[in-house]
């Protein structure tokens, strides 16, 4: 019986070695270890053995079974590896062929700038407010200290719809509306981006429709130096922390004192070049301390409340920051233009 087992072992191992398919291993397993397999049938004859022989043969049989099983497993693993290797080889592709294109959209450059400014001021505790684009004469002019017949109305050529209704010429009416809504006894901290309209002929530097962002801070004891500090933070975040700001006196009917803000020219670092017309400075926005008449008309007591306001043009900022040289580009929506500023 010993010999029989030994023969089975040798034979099985021999077949395992020469097997080159997983299927064959399966057959071998059945042929030797299966219910009707040769090892099984040998073991079945164990009953005939003597009490002394039985454990010896039993041990031997187990050893043969284990040897065959291990050999099957090892060979099986090897064949699987080979099969996988072959499969991978067959599956290989040309990685240099082009990929399947994905349509990538993007935001308009003006949106990008507006949202950047929104987020910047939200971070400083401002809220974002909106207002109508068709405004009343009252909110667009009168509430902003521009009564009918005021010479400064000439500064803003207006599209009228009726005598009392017009396309807003700036986003400032949102200031007046917000203050009125707050009813004169709480502080206001807001910015309002939006479309505005002027009676201009469209050319490289003029557009009958453009964008503005207005900011307003009204509270007790707001100082002009607060305006300066706020604008400085804005300029450094928007244009880079090495930019310097310069305030110049100016005139707006709705602020007093009024301010024009310049930033040091990035191109020449303030040395003077063609971009800044040799001055080293570039005009960015208008601002000032809210005129007491404006506060009063909105129901705020100018003896208790003071505030500052500022207004800027995202088109101008885009033109400076990204070198756009024709304002019409923002509204023509040429695909080649739009694409340039996606993820700018």
């Amino acid at each position: 019986m010993k010999e029989q087992l030994e023969t089975i072992k040798q034979e099985a191992l021999g077949r395992i070695v020469s097997a080159d398919e997983l299927k064959e291993l399966q057959d071998i397993k059945v042929a030797y270890l299966g219910k009707k397999g040769s090892l099984t049938s040998v073991l079945r004859g164990m009953g005939k053995l003597s009490k002394e022989e039985r454990p010896i043969i039993g041990e031997l049989a187990n050893e043969v079974r284990e040897t065959i099983t291990t050999a099957l497993e090892e060979k099986g693993q090897k064949l699987e590896e080979l099969a996988l290797e072959k499969q991978l080889e067959e599956e290989a592709i040309d990685v240099t062929l082009p990929g399947r294109p994905v349509n990538v959209g993007g935001e308009h450059l003006l949106t990008k700038i507006v949202e950047e400014i929104e987020d910047l001021f939200i971070g400083m505790g401002y809220e974002v407010r909106e207002g109508p684009e068709v405004e009343t004469d009252y909110y667009n002019f009168e509430a902003l200290n521009l009564p009918k017949g005021h010479p400064a109305r000439d500064m803003q050529d207006t599209f009228y719809v009726t005598n009392e209704l017009l396309m807003r010429t700036h986003t400032s009416p949102v200031q007046a509306r917000t203050m009125k809504e707050f009813d004169g006894d709480q502080s206001v901290k807001m910015i309002c981006p939006g479309k505005v309209y002027r009676r201009d002929t469209d050319d490289a530097t003029h557009s009958h429709q453009f964008t503005q962002i207005e900011g307003l801070y009204v509270g007790k004891d707001v100082r002009m130096s607060d305006l300066k500090g706020t604008l400085d933070q804005f300029a450094k975040k928007m244009f880079g922390k090495d930019r310097e700001i310069r305030l110049r006196p100016s005139f707006f009917p709705f602020t007093e004192p009024s301010v024009e803000m310049d930033i040091s020219c990035k191109v020449c670092n303030g040395q003077g070049c063609s971009v800044c017309k040799g001055t080293g400075w570039i005009e960015i926005l208008g601002a000032g301390m809210v005129h007491p008449n404006v506060l009063e008309m909105a129901g705020y007591d100018p003896k208790v409340y003071t505030g500052f306001a500022f207004g800027m043009g995202p088109e101008r900022i885009a033109m400076l920051k990204y070198g756009v040289n024709d304002i019409r580009q923002f509204y023509t929506n040429d695909k080649r233009f739009l694409k340039q500023y996606h993820n700018a």
């Binding site: 959209g105 901290k189 429709q209 305030l247 004192p257």
Partner: protein
């Protein structure tokens, strides 16, 4: 305002400061200096020469041979100017001279005769043609006799002057005068101010014997002063005055006109000279014009006037449109002997109206419109009389005939030092403030920290404390203000839910492959009625037009974003830009009033236009043109993302392809549409096949809830079942799907259409639509029996309702 520095130096010593440095100083303190220009480029070696003799050139008809004494030597010069003559004093460029444009003067031979220099015109010396007095426009310039031979012409002709262009904001009308500028510069440089004298010698005669002045419209004309000057000799004005005028951008005419212009520029006070003898009466009456009254103005145009205009009359008919332009009939001319000089204060409203109606805007009207100084009206008249005595031989009659109700008082404004610092954030002392007002030459009284400031009448812009605050800040220097941040209570800033939703919608569409655009809100009459969404059209919206549009293209407030979006598509396609997937988020303007009286309702929409290849991957033979289902998929994705139940139903929308458009519904409510643009409109607009969507964002905002409620992730397995129905071709597959959803509720969680087939084996006019159903129970594992029961019920009912049977 053009500010000549040589002129300015008469009033204030600007020291060694360069024109550019002065410009910088002025700009920083509030008046932007737009440019610094020099009257002419440098000319060297150009001197005054005396033409000793002038004869015809022996070999040329049009040339003259001159002997010119230049002080040091006598030069033989050939000159072609028609106005050259013996005895003139002229500008001579000697050999070696360099004229503007780097024009070098050399000894030459002209037609065989030597010429040792050039006799110059003003243009050749660098003066702009438009400022050259008419008599010298076609030839050389001739000096008055009192200049010295051999003297350099540069200072004589003011060629060394620099001119600063002040860009004045409307509040700084005071700087529309050289005196105003002098006050400003003197304050900035802290220099003394030298004001001109207005002293004038008068005759024994009384002007009141010559003229009566009566002002009827005192509200519009609080001061009218009439000066009478006799024995006038109209001739050239002195060279220095001409130089100043040229530098200020005004062409010299004759002494009388030049003097009124000079004083206007000097004092900011417009003056008008009438020829006294041509006035039809001895009365000046200032009144409102009568409706339809006519006046021929200096420019020979007949003007029809109205009651809103103010006129100067001779008691009967108008002789001038107040503050704007004089009448032709009473114009000063060469033979004028007696001048009636008007110095008046006209209210800006009257002048503005006249300018608006006549279109006549002049140096004079601009000053009245912006407001003049009541304390300089009479004074300017006196200054002009003084100059007319000096330079026109005039004899000024005693007394000015006046109508005078003008308020010349300076407004009192209180100011406390601590309040200044509280508002500016500074630590300025009372002494500093006093020093600032001293520099500005504002009168004030000081009691320690408290001031009473008298706003000078020349500064009409200063009326309240805040105006003084700006004066203090700008002289103190905006640069010197500290940087601080507001100390008020902190407040959290954030976007509102709606603002966030708008950003979310944009982000979704961008990640779906669409590019954001911004188009114009104002559109044309052709586009205003195009592609209006049905739910807007149902409101019967009225087109709102601008009362005075700039162009027909931008006349109406849009009722849909699509027409302008389509224009951007065709614009790009015309430039070979294909594959355009555009969207815009913007407002439309809906009014239901036929005659608009109130603001239209501004409604936010999100619209898109797509055209071209949605996807192309050639080597794998994949290609997909934009079609209805591409756009529908984007919309389904959007509403899925926003968690809004969307459905689509076939709809007829004007200008849309009747077979390829659908209305979008949220919770059963119409909120917009999608589909292909009607081929007729595509053709008309030069568009390739274009698909659009248009969604009412107001409805989306209303329906959207920002915080989704939590729903338990299912713990139990789902079971799938597929059914394919063969049904009539006309039956919308979506309707059947909806029926299945309803029949399957609540166990059926999802129904998807995964195959549509038409063709062989199922009969003509039939189609097979395959649906896959997902069953799931939240609390237990479903049994086959439960699923089978529901499934059978669906089969049965769909069969009954649609005559659809299961494909086996």
């Amino acid at each position: 305002m053009l500010v000549s520095l040589n002129w300015l130096k008469n009033y204030v010593d600007i020291g060694e400061i360069s024109p550019e440095q002065l410009a910088e100083k002025v700009t920083k303190s509030g008046i932007e200096v737009e440019s610094v220009e020099y009257v002419a480029e440098k000319s060297e070696n150009v001197v005054v020469g005396y033409v000793q003799s002038c004869e015809k050139h022996p070999n040329a008809d049009k040339l003259n041979l001159c002997q010119v004494d230049t002080g040091e030597e006598t030069l033989q010069i050939i000159c072609g100017a028609p106005n050259i003559a013996q005895g003139q004093k002229v500008a001579v460029a000697k050999p070696g001279a360099v004229l503007p444009g780097n024009f070098k003067i050399k000894k030459v031979k002209l037609r065989g005769v030597e010429s040792n220099g050039m006799i110059c015109s003003l243009q050749e010396l660098g003066i702009e043609e438009k400022y050259v007095p008419k008599e010298f426009a076609e030839g050389i310039f001739v000096f008055p006799e009192d200049v010295t031979v051999g003297e350099s012409v540069e200072p004589l002709l003011n060629l060394n002057d620099a001119v600063l262009e002040f860009e004045l904001t409307p509040n700084r009308a005071d700087c529309l005068s050289m005196l105003g500028v002098a006050y400003e510069v003197a304050a900035l440089l802290d220099q003394p101010l030298q004001l001109p004298s207005e002293e004038v010698e008068v005759t024994d005669e009384d002007a009141a014997d010559y003229i009566k002045v009566e002002v009827e419209a005192k509200d519009l004309n609080p001061y009218y002063g009439a000066f009478v000057i006799k024995d006038i000799e109209v001739k050239d004005s002195p060279l220095w005055m001409k130089n100043h005028l040229i530098a200020a951008g005004i062409r010299p005419i004759n002494n009388v006109v030049d003097i009124t212009n000079f004083v206007m520029l000097e004092y900011g006070q417009p003056l008008h000279a009438f020829d006294y003898d041509r006035l039809q009466s001895e009365n000046i009456v200032v009144r409102r014009a009568k409706d339809g009254e006519k006046l021929v103005t200096l420019d020979e145009q007949e003007r029809t006037l109205s009651e809103e205009h103010l006129v100067i009359t001779d008691g009967e008919k108008p002789v001038a449109l107040a503050g704007v332009m004089g009448g032709l009939d009473t114009e000063v001319h060469e033979k004028t002997k007696t001048v009636l000089l008007e110095a008046a204060y006209f209210e800006s409203s009257a002048v503005r109206k006249a300018v608006k109606d006549t279109g006549l805007r002049s140096e004079s009207s601009t000053r009245f419109e912006k407001g003049i100084d009541p304390n300089r009206v009479r004074e300017a008249g006196q200054r002009a009389c003084q100059l007319l005595t000096q330079y026109a031989g005039g004899k000024v009659l005693a007394n000015v005939v006046e109508s005078d109700q003008i308020d010349r008082t300076e407004k009192k404004i209180n100011l406390v030092t601590s309040e200044v610092n509280k508002r500016l954030g500074t630590e300025i002392t009372a002494e500093d403030i006093a020093d600032i007002f001293r520099k500005l030459r504002f009168h004030f009284e000081q009691d320690l920290e408290e001031f009473i400031v008298y706003a000078p009448t020349r500064r009409g812009d200063i009326t309240i404390f805040e105006d003084l605050l700006e004066e203090i800040a700008r002289v103190y220097g905006y640069d010197n203000l500290p940087f601080t941040l507001p100390e008020g209570e902190a407040q959290a800033g954030a976007l509102t839910e709606t603002q966030q939703l708008k950003r979310d919608v944009k982000r979704y569409l961008q990640s779906a492959g669409l590019m954001e655009t911004i188009t114009y809100s104002l559109t044309s009459s052709a586009k205003i009625s195009q592609l209006i969404s049905p739910e807007i059209q149902n409101l019967d919206p009225q087109a709102v037009a601008l009362s005075m549009p700039m162009s027909e293209d931008h006349k109406y407030l849009r009722l849909s974003l699509l027409p302008e979006l389509l224009s951007t598509i065709s614009y790009n396609q015309a430039r070979n830009q294909t594959d355009l997937f555009y969207f815009e988020l913007g407002k439309i303007f809906v009014s239901q009033e036929k005659m608009i009286t109130s603001q239209p309702s501004e409604q936010l929409r999100v619209s898109g236009a797509l055209s071209g290849k949605w996807m192309e991957h050639p080597w794998q033979q994949e290609k997909k043109e934009v079609d209805f289902y591409v756009v529908k998929g984007i919309m389904e994705g959007l509403f899925n993302y926003l968690k809004l139940p969307v459905s689509f139903k076939k709809g007829t929308i004007p200008q849309m392809h009747p077979g390829r458009s659908a209305v979008i519904l949220i919770n059963g409510k119409e909120v917009g549409f999608i589909g292909q643009v009607h081929p007729a409109l595509q053709k008309e607009s030069g568009l390739k096949d274009t698909y659009v969507f248009d969604v009412n964002m107001e409805e989306v905002i209303a329906e959207h809830s920002a915080v989704p409620s939590y729903s338990q992730i299912p713990k139990y397995p789902s079971i799938s079942r597929d059914i394919a129905f063969i049904m009539d071709k006309q039956i919308p597959a979506g309707d059947v799907k909806q029926t299945i959803v309803e029949l399957g509720a609540p166990l059926v969680k999802q129904v998807n259409i995964f195959d549509v087939y038409q063709g062989e084996n199922i009969g003509e006019n039939k189609k097979s639509v395959a649906y896959s159903l997902v069953y799931q129970h939240p609390d237990k594992t479903l049994t086959d029996e439960e699923v089978e029961e529901s499934y059978t019920n669906i089969l049965h009912n769909v069969n009954e309702k649609y005559d659809a049977y299961v494909r086996s």
